[in-house]
Symmetry: C2
Subunit: 469 residues, 2 copies
């Protein structure tokens, strides 16, 4: 395991695209367009003997023609060309390359590694869609869109899931420190990137999509180090029967024993989730609500049904719904109609105008004993959802590490969701999902406590065994 030159890969100051092109729908054209479209401040070069210029930028015929060695080279040329290019790049002084090319056979892969080794040149891929480091305006990928800057990192064995996460996150204004598609992991693997991100000040939490791990010892060491510093959430796919088969045909590796992996994840202090939905949920939770440290949850709702579903989910997930303090109950008595629920869940009744939401939220947030607040809303004809959202926005913006939101519905609440997203509040599709996200944070803290209880072995009673020799 080594983090050597990973900074060149993830934070390059100059990039060169080999096989850059303007042929619509080609990888070379997409990478070139993505790189140029971003706000990347460093130099960008193109290499392709078939073009003199691309978009008005000089295009070099060969690597040898490049004016200086780029930090990072992105290679989109046929399998047989890659090893030769790596050798030329290494001699020039480049220390990192992304190989997007698919279909390299094992001899070609070995040739690439052999060409890279003398120069300690790091290879991401082959057969990957590249990486994005949004704070640098760097989109060195052939994804269909770019990412917002933020403090989540996503490292994926599947390129398709990078594009899915990108698209999903953009709509929710969730930002990333980096997104990396590992592809076939000829060189750079999960362990390397984890090791780098463990001490990356721009990354507050890490999401992993794993199908298989080739170097478990290296992975575990990096995982432990990373999870000590920040939350690490893992989806490990290929866990069951046919899943293993599908995965074996995907990136050419066999899944390890799922039970062993499960235990290892827990031991390393990472959290495993089962589905893409849970991965998305974890991303939302960590990005927005990650700072929360509350043990109890208070539910406020404008409809009994949502409150009941949330309370059910809390009971099933072992989440404690706090009792309202006398003082808070008195404040709510003054602010709410007499038919309010007088308990947690706090049902403010379906005819609630916007100020009733504000008064309730204020009363709950003023009382630390309320813990975190799940804000639940079903559409009504009495008041527009966006009006409620705007009225509550200043409050939730201040308390975003204590508020989770669930706007039930679709078009009628789209604007409200957007207002809350703008305010930085975690938002969930259903009350059950919000409660599970809250429980997940709790589970995560529990993992951490378990790991931190494992103390290093005391050595003060150790005496070396002496032998007379």
């Amino acid at each position: 395991m080594s983090v050597r030159h990973l900074d060149r890969l993830l934070e390059p100051t100059s990039v060169c695209v080999i096989g850059a092109s303007d042929r619509a729908g080609s990888v070379g054209a997409t990478v070139w367009r993505n790189l140029r479209a971003g706000a990347f401040a460093g130099a960008i070069h193109a290499v392709n003997p078939r073009h003199a210029t691309l978009d008005g930028v000089a295009c070099h015929a060969a690597v040898a023609d490049l004016p200086t060695a780029p930090d990072l080279a992105v290679i989109c040329t046929p399998p047989g060309t890659v090893a030769g290019l790596i050798e030329q790049l290494g001699r020039l002084g480049t220390r990192a390359a992304i190989v997007m090319t698919a279909g390299l056979d094992s001899a070609e892969k070995q040739a690439v590694l052999d060409a890279a080794r003398p120069h300690l040149l790091r290879i991401l891929g082959p057969n990957c869609i590249g990486l994005l480091t949004p704070r640098l305006g760097l989109n060195a990928s052939f994804a269909h869109t770019d990412a917002l800057a933020g403090d989540l990192a996503f490292i994926s064995q599947s390129g398709a899931l990078v594009t899915a996460v990108l698209d999903w996150a953009r709509a929710r204004r969730i930002g990333f420190s980096t997104l990396v598609s590992l592809g076939e992991r000829a060189d750079v693997d999960f362990g390397d990137i984890l090791d780098h991100l463990a001490s990356d000040e721009h990354t507050r939490s890490i999401l992993l999509y794993i199908e298989s791990i080739e170097s478990p010892r290296k992975f575990m060491s990096a995982a432990r180090a990373a999870a000590r510093n920040k939350p690490v959430i893992v989806v490990k796919a290929g866990r069951a029967g046919k899943g293993v088969k599908a995965e074996a045909s995907h990136t050419g590796a066999l899944a390890g024993s799922d039970i062993v992996f499960d235990a290892a994840i827990r031991r390393a202090g990472m959290l495993r989730v089962d589905t893409l939905q849970d991965l998305f949920m974890a991303a939302e939770t960590l990005a927005r609500f990650g700072g929360n440290r509350d043990d109890t949850l208070t539910i406020m709702t404008n409809g009994g049904g949502g409150g009941v579903m949330a309370a059910d989910a809390a009971a099933l997930a072992g989440v404690t719904l706090g009792d309202l303090s006398e003082a808070t109950r008195a404040r709510l008595d003054a602010a709410l109609p007499p038919t309010w629920s007088h308990a947690n869940p706090v049902d403010i009744i379906g005819d609630a105008p916007a100020h009733r939401y504000v008064d309730t939220l204020q009363a709950l947030l003023d009382d630390r004993a309320s813990g975190a607040v799940l804000f639940l809303h079903a559409p009504t004809a009495i008041v527009r959802s966006d009006e409620v959202a705007r009225a509550c926005a200043p409050l939730v913006r201040e308390a975003r590490d204590r508020v989770m939101a669930c706007w039930l519905g679709d078009a009628a609440v789209a604007e409200a969701r957007s207002v809350f997203a703008e305010a930085g509040v975690a938002d969930y599709e259903t009350p059950e999902e919000a409660v599970r996200a809250f429980a997940m944070l709790g589970t995560y803290s529990a993992h951490h406590r378990v790991r931190n209880q494992i103390q290093p072995q005391p050595v003060d009673k150790f005496r070396p065994k002496r032998t007379n020799c």
Copy 2:
């Protein structure tokens, strides 16, 4: 239990709103607007002594002034007025009323029932948001939107969940035969509506949101009858600890034992789901994919990761992924690049242009042994998702009872989702959700088989016991 006059409630030919108003944000104004906005072909009357006209329609001062007895009266006036109004309506000849008014105490509720009984006038509510029968253009509710016509029925103890389901379904173009908010169920309850819908030719499947059942025997009898004819899916909330407490404070009833309820649901041939997400999923599945009878699933995907997640989910849910037949494999060999997965999941590789999706889908659908097909797509920069969707639309429209879709992502696939929704194809957020929906259909069929195995006791060996007397 009685279905008497429920036709007047659910399929009235004339409606009167008592307490109709033009005061923005009031229940009376919202109901009046909803009723007028729909395409309801029957007569619509307003009663309110404070208005001479409403929107240019004559407004009557009292029930006695109505020109004829409306089939259905919608009452939005204060608690103390309701019983008197019911009596007047009954005398006039009206046989169904929706009482939206909240806050009736038990004496007032009893007075309402006493006033209704001599006329066999049926009461929906009190404290409900009303009902919609979209095929008649009837929106007798104070929901914020209306519904599309379709063949799903949704019956809910929570009004808020009716608005949430309405909003969610509208965005997905899912239609309803009827949506009913039961409120406090002074008269009309789950058993009554189920009994009516069991033989309603416009309703193909039924969704229930239940917190508590007051007349279990009546409910079970109706449920058995309904579930014999069509799928009945149930969310039963208030199942656990605090959930029970929240629900007790909601519509004034105590939850029964959850285990008993669970067994009863199974015995009646209904299917229980746990979360709102599952209820939505069930609605999507029944509305679009409900006719499917396949045992096996074939996954096609443009990205390995999604395929692995789907195969994992299938293994966990006990869904069989069929093996590809020799003939289909040969057709796919001819249509796909050599790097395709050569197995189920069928990975058509991330660089797939639109025609590759079409060729693959055609090959799978032409082979009955493929069973149902899960169409999985992650966004790529190679081809626009909506282009893929449009190319596949004619095929999937024809085979919509064999295709489930999952367009991973958000904005980049929104148009594609819309094209598939237009084609009537079931669409899911994640591969896991699609697989669970498929498994749900299987579970449902299994329930049905179990129920149908319970034969009536043979009576041919029965001999009456004779006594000499």
